[in-house]
């Protein structure tokens, strides 16, 4: 019945044959062949990560802003350690014994098989000494790293700094391992992906004496590191340096933008710090010092400080009035030194009366804009202030206020443009009228704008109605392109023909005849038509902040600028001459009236008692 019983022998034979083949193969692999024979005590594969140098950062004219310097990390693999002469070891590295014990313990805790950093950033000199004697210390090896270096101390906030990755980042992004560096702020952070390059790995055979015996498998498992892409910034290094020089001993910021492209030419925030402080072994120590400094040098005011825009905002209200057809070039309002409405009084300064639109900008009349603002909000075209206010808010936001500009800075603030709900909460739905909001007519009250937003608004005025999203990087070397959003025109909701009137006013504010009441004559440059507007941001804590926005030349603007000087008082006093000097430096490369430069450089504005407010 079971006529195939003999076939069991074949099957048994196959099984025995397989057993035989496996045994022979295993014997060859484990006993005969020495190429796989890396016994635990003699040969070990070492995976040495190749850290690419970070990309360099240049200014718009090819001047170097950031480069790299070689340094060495001493690594340890705990399970490869042998007892060693700690005294000599400590001498070479200039360390305390306790540190060695602590560091080894820490490494052990991280992993006993994988390497971790024993000592960071050993100098080239120490490295040279150590290199000769490294064979005495199995388990230790050296890994080349690079550190950031700065040819000059400018642009700390803009460039940002580099630091070690934290646990959160390691968990989120596979690329980073403990001890890796990552850009933490500024361009270093925003363009990290390009600047960092790509890590590689070399696999080496290492003998008992901790000496590299060569590459493993002829380097077939090696991966070449890819150097980070260089970045060409939009910054003009000379202008940036000049801005930082002018702002010495003052608190505030300057943002200069090229209106035709949205490229940031200079972005200054003072007090600042030397970028070298946040590099190397002293980084943590210095960081703590900077953090506890009462003047907050780490705080980037250009992006993160919110001030009311002050009188500069009158330009915006004028434009909205024109667009809404509640204001016309010939509209005149009387001003008797203040705006009165019932018991409310908004003070103004002395000037001739009545004023037309252009004159109102030239002389910065408060009364005029209280009238304009009320005519916008109390426009009969709309059923109630709730609608007209929404509309006004949309106009304002179209200049980039109250919203993230979406620049390439990750830490910009969106500022503040109040909503209906803000007032509903305070006054109830029917409890507020145009008079309630009247301080916004002259740019005070609930408005909050950053210097970057103000410079952007200036660029939009200079362009007669549109702006490009401000950005700090012009080009990424290699096959990378900038995000498309930086090349798209962002239109304001104001028709371009209305801008000419406002610009006429801004021209006269700077270049009006002496005695005509022009507010910004301190910004005059002999051969360039600067258009500007002063502002003063009310400061409940102390002296008001001095503000000035300007662009030049009038017909073909090349630079739009916003200057904030905290506690500087009236905009014409400090901010306007500072802006003037910046514009002149940028357009003429020289200063025609050195007196003004000295005037600003010597000024020390509320710098040493800033905290007392």
């Amino acid at each position: 019945m079971d006529s195939f019983a003999n076939r069991r022998h074949i099957i048994r034979f196959i099984i025995i044959l397989i057993g035989l083949i496996f045994t022979i193969k295993l014997f060859i692999l484990q006993v005969v062949d020495s190429s796989y024979k890396l016994t635990a005590s003699s040969n070990v594969l070492r995976y040495v990560t190749q850290f690419p140098a970070r990309g360099l950062i240049y200014d718009r004219n090819g001047e170097l802003l950031v480069y790299n310097e070689a340094t060495y990390d001493l690594m340890v693999v705990p399970n490869q350690l042998m007892p060693f002469d700690t005294t000599e070891f400590c001498q070479i590295l200039n360390l305390k014994k306790e540190y060695v014990q602590e560091a080894i313990k820490r490494a052990r805790k991280f992993s006993i098989y994988n390497s971790s950093v024993f000592l960071k950033q050993v100098s080239s000199r120490t490295y040279a000494n150590l290199q000769e004697k490294l064979y005495k210390y199995p388990g230790f090896y050296v890994q080349a790293r690079t550190l950031r270096k700065y040819p000059s101390d400018i642009g700390a906030h803009l460039l940002g700094y580099v630091g070690e990755v934290n646990e959160k980042i390691i968990e989120k992004d596979d690329y980073y391992k403990s001890g890796d560096y990552i850009g933490i702020s500024g361009i270093e952070q925003s363009y990290e992906e390009y600047i960092r390059g790509k890590k590689g790995v070399n696999v080496y055979l290492v003998d008992v004496h901790n000496r590299i015996k060569g590459t493993y498998a002829n380097g077939r498992l090696d991966k070449q590191a890819v150097v980070g892409s260089n970045i060409i910034s939009t910054i003009d290094a000379d202008l940036q340096a000049y801005g930082e020089k002018l702002m010495k001993n003052k608190i505030g910021s300057i943002v200069a933008i090229e209106p035709s492209s949205g490229e940031i030419l200079a972005i200054v925030s003072t007090p600042s710090y030397n970028p070298e402080l946040l590099v190397g072994r002293k980084r943590t120590e210095n960081y703590v010092d900077l953090m506890s400094d009462s003047l907050k040098p780490l705080f980037n005011r250009a992006l993160m400080a919110q001030y009311p825009p002050g009188s500069t905002f009158k330009v915006i209200n004028a434009l909205i009035g024109l667009q809404e057809k509640v204001l016309f070039p010939y509209t005149k309002y009387d001003c008797e030194g203040a705006y009165y409405a019932g018991r409310l009084r908004v003070g103004c300064h002395f000037h001739k009366t009545p004023l037309n639109l252009i004159e109102s900008i030239q002389m910065s009349c408060n009364t005029y804009y209280c009238n304009v603002f009320r005519s916008i909000l109390d426009n009969r075209k709309y059923p109630s202030i709730r609608e007209s206010f929404d509309l006004w808010r949309e106009y304002v936001m179209s200049f980039g206020f109250g919203t993230y500009l979406n620049s390439d800075f990750s830490n910009e603030l969106k500022g503040l443009v109040p909503t209906k709900q803000t007032y509903d909460k305070i006054y109830g739905e029917r409890g507020w009228r145009s008079l309630t909001l009247i301080s916004m007519a002259i740019g005070q009250g609930e408005l909050g704008t950053t210097p970057l937003q103000m410079a952007n608004m200036t660029a939009a005025i200079a362009n007669r109605g549109f702006y490009y999203i401000p950005h700090s990087v012009k080009e990424i070397e290699g096959d990378h392109v900038l995000d498309n959003r930086f090349f798209e025109k962002q239109y304001t909701k104001i028709d371009s023909n209305y801008f000419e009137l406002a610009i006429e006013g801004m021209d006269l504010a700077v270049n009006g005849e002496a005695g005509t009441g022009s507010t910004a004559r301190t910004a005059q440059i002999s051969n360039i038509t600067v258009c500007g507007k002063t502002g003063t941001a009310e400061n409940p804590h102390g002296e008001d902040h001095s503000i000035f926005i300007a662009f030049a030349p009038k017909e073909k603007p090349e630079i739009a600028i916003a200057v904030y000087i905290e506690n500087g008082g009236f905009g014409g006093t400090w901010a306007a001459p500072t802006a003037k000097l910046m514009i002149e430096e940028y357009l003429n490369d020289s200063i025609s009236v050195p007196w003004w430069e000295e005037y600003i450089l010597n000024a020390e504005i509320n710098y040493n008692n800033a905290e007392k407010d």
């Binding site: 025995i16 496996f22 295993l26 692999l29 484990q30 006993i112």
Partner: protein, 474 residues
């Protein structure tokens, strides 16, 4: 006729002992593979060795339950089990959880179950049941179709889950069929197809055609035992090809050798058929079909390879055949695996002292590449012991299968042997670079509850049948 026997005394304790030894060795190697100094407690259930201990305990309970069930249960319900498993396999395609690109798991709370592991048992039972059907003629087309269906339906379903390794296991049932008397020519044909597939990828098509012609001549001689016929056939082909070759030279037609051979083969084919009809020689048509089939197959291999296999599968095959070097991917794994095993030397580095199998050097150290840990820490002596133990285990199972009086028990026994054999050969073979990397577990060693339970059930059903072998007569 039935006799009542105490199953506990007739259980094959030797096999049970081998089972326990294998499971124990597996567990300590999982412990070694995931061991690090921060988790030293054996009973740390957050670690894989802790969890495996739970799976093992459960496996022993399952083994006991399997053992106390009445033997008839398994043959009576064989088809029903099979049917249920097919439904479950279809279900996993719809409701399953995708892990590492394979939709093979059911997730019930914290527990994941891989039905493919259990489908092997059902298939072995169903196959045994079918092959013991009353009056079955195994070597008929009808039987072939049904057998193929029983084996291939689960295989294809598992393939659709993207779990190629587990799908290939079903081809191991060829051993069962072989033992139960399937025609040798079917086996040889299958073998020929596999060899042809590999050759088609490695060597030039022209050489394969020449080889196939040679094989066909040998078979022809083997079938007819007439040297004269074979000689004439050979001369015809030689004549035809030299004629075509000459013509090609004279006419300067520029035909490649390849076309010359095909054309002369076509002409000779016609001559053969004429001769065969006039002299009443058998098998000629069949052999010609076979030859044409294998040539066509050779051509289609490239197509199938490029269009039906996924890139990583192509790569794995290419790497083993030495056609492609992929140092970062597949080859990297095999390389690391070989280094780990090779670095063990004769006696190994000692328990928990392996360096290569720890952490990231060898991938999947506790599952598919568990054999590396054995190789590294226990050396050649360790791997030899494990290999010999497995061989002895298989040998013993064949012994048990052969002593069955019931065909059902014997056939099921061979099913068990086939599944274990395939897993062992592929898994160990892959870690030492003898076969492509196919992700299937090493029985009793690899980490994972589903596979351990499935192997346990597979084995203990057979031990249950064996314990009652004297009760069953057929």
């Amino acid at each position: 006729m039935q006799r009542r026997i105490n199953i506990w005394s007739s259980i094959d304790w030797l096999t049970v002992t081998i089972y326990l030894v294998l499971v124990f060795l597996g567990w300590i190697n999982i412990y070694a593979a995931v061991y690090n100094e921060d988790h030293q407690s054996i009973l740390d259930f957050s670690q894989r060795y802790g969890k495996q201990l739970i799976w093992i305990s459960a496996a022993l309970v399952i083994a006991f339950i399997v053992f106390v069930i009445d033997i008839n249960f398994y043959s009576y319900f064989a088809y029903i089990f099979y049917g249920i498993l097919i439904v479950v396999l279809i279900g996993v395609l719809i409701f399953g959880k995708e892990i590492h690109g394979a939709r093979s798991w059911y997730e019930l709370g914290n527990i994941r179950i891989q039905p493919a592991e259990f489908a092997k048992i059902a298939t072995a039972l169903a196959l045994a049941r079918y092959l013991t059907s009353y009056n079955l003629q195994i070597n008929t087309v009808k039987s072939y179709v049904r057998i193929a269906a029983i084996i291939l339906i689960p295989s294809v379903l598992i393939l659709m889950q993207n779990d190629t390794g587990s799908a290939l296991v079903y081809f191991a049932f060829i051993f069962v069929l072989y033992r139960e008397g399937i025609s040798e020519s079917i086996i040889l044909l299958g073998l020929f197809v596999i060899i042809l597939f590999i050759l088609a990828l490695v060597i030039d098509t022209l050489i394969i055609i020449l080889l196939s012609i040679g094989v066909v001549f040998i078979i022809f001689w083997f079938l007819n035992r007439k040297i004269k016929h074979t000689g004439i056939a050979f001369i015809v082909l030689l004549f035809a090809s030299s004629a075509i070759y000459g013509l090609n030279e004279v006419l300067n037609a520029g035909l490649s050798y390849y076309y010359i051979l095909l054309i002369s083969l076509g002409i000779s084919g016609l001559v053969y058929i004429i001769l065969a009809i006039s002299y009443k020689i058998k098998n000629v048509a069949l052999l010609l079909i076979f030859l044409i089939g294998s040539i066509a197959f050779t051509y289609s291999v490239d197509y199938v390879f490029n269009n039906f296999l996924e890139q990583h599968q192509q790569k794995r095959i290419n790497v083993v055949l030495g056609l492609e070097s992929d140092p970062y991917g597949v080859e990297y794994n095999v390389n690391q695996s070989k280094i780990a095993i090779g670095s063990g030397g004769l006696t190994g580095k000692g328990f928990l002292r392996g360096t290569q199998t720890k952490f990231d050097f060898v991938p999947e150290q506790s599952t598919d590449f568990i054999f590396c840990t054995i190789g590294e820490e226990w050396g050649f002596l360790g791997t030899l012991f494990v290999v010999l133990l497995f061989i002895f285990f298989l040998y013993r199972l064949i012994g048990l299968a052969e002593r069955q009086r019931s065909s059902f028990s014997r056939i099921y026994g061979y099913g068990v042997v086939s599944v274990f054999l395939f897993h062992i050969v592929i898994n160990i073979g892959m870690t030492i670079g003898l076969v492509p990397v196919i992700g299937i577990p090493l029985p009793f060693f690899s980490y994972g509850g589903s596979s351990l339970w499935a192997f346990t059930i597979l084995l203990f059903i057979f031990l249950r049948l064996d314990a009652s072998r004297l009760e069953l007569l057929q």
